[in-house]
């Protein structure tokens, strides 16, 4: 049993992340986690919006000014993409949960559909909303 004989041989370690060649599926896995964290923090903007409306005209105007500024718009655009990417990535997870699409080529198709779908939906949503 391990540990019963003392030896100076170092314990085996798992290979670290940077020894692997980056792949699309690996990048998308990381993206799902990062977008989840981004949307977690982004809920502050959503609740700020609701509280501003509840607080009255002036608060709502200040909120619109803040989000309508260049940094505000960049944050809003990033959050739009993040939530759409995470939502589509979540659907991908749910498909995997049924035991489907774990192998080539479907796992690659799903990864691409996730990325292209989130970018397309973000573009459509902003094209529809921004002119207003």
């Amino acid at each position: 049993m391990a540990g019963t004989t003392s030896s100076s041989r170092p314990r085996p370690t798992a290979p670290h992340l940077q020894v692997y060649r980056p792949t699309l599926t690996m990048t998308m896995s990381i993206a799902h986690r990062l977008t989840g964290i981004a949307v977690y923090i982004g809920t502050i903007v959503f609740v700020w919006w609701l509280i501003a409306i509840a607080a009255g005209r002036d608060a709502y105007e200040s909120f619109l000014d803040a989000l309508g500024s260049i940094p505000g718009l960049i944050v809003l655009f990033g959050l739009t993409w993040a939530v759409l990417h995470h939502a589509l990535g979540g659907i991908r997870h749910l498909i995997w949960d049924t035991g489907r699409a774990h192998t080539y080529p479907w796992r690659e198709y799903l990864a691409r559909a996730n990325l292209i779908g989130s970018l397309a939906l973000t573009a459509i949503l902003w094209a529809v909303c921004y002119p207003r």
């Binding site: 949307v39 609701l50 659907i91």
Partner: protein, 127 residues
Amino acid sequence: MRDFRTSTALARGLGAAGNGTRDFWHQRVTSVLGVLLIAGVLIVISTSVGADYDEVTNLLSNPLAVIVLLLALLNFCIHMRIGMQVVIEDYVHGPVTKALLLIANTGFSAVIGVAGAAAVLKIAFAG
């Protein structure tokens, strides 16, 4: 490999954290419902773009919008808490830091859910 769990632990099936597969299952349920709810939230937000104050309060007084927003706040409050708990457990191993972060995570998720719901109800019922 030999299974070191006692037969009582196996029968209970609750695992090391004592909750069994509860969080796993709740994460799946809130993901499925989340797909519908996020669509609803995005529709409400998109509709509000360009609206003045009276129009936006009017929109958020629509019962359908109120129901969608309240359900979404409840759903994602649960989902984001479990999701971030997994992230914390993956990267933070100091017992005290981990416990504090897990408590902060629960607190943050609860504040988001309750503050959001309070605002939605105030807009809908108190103008």
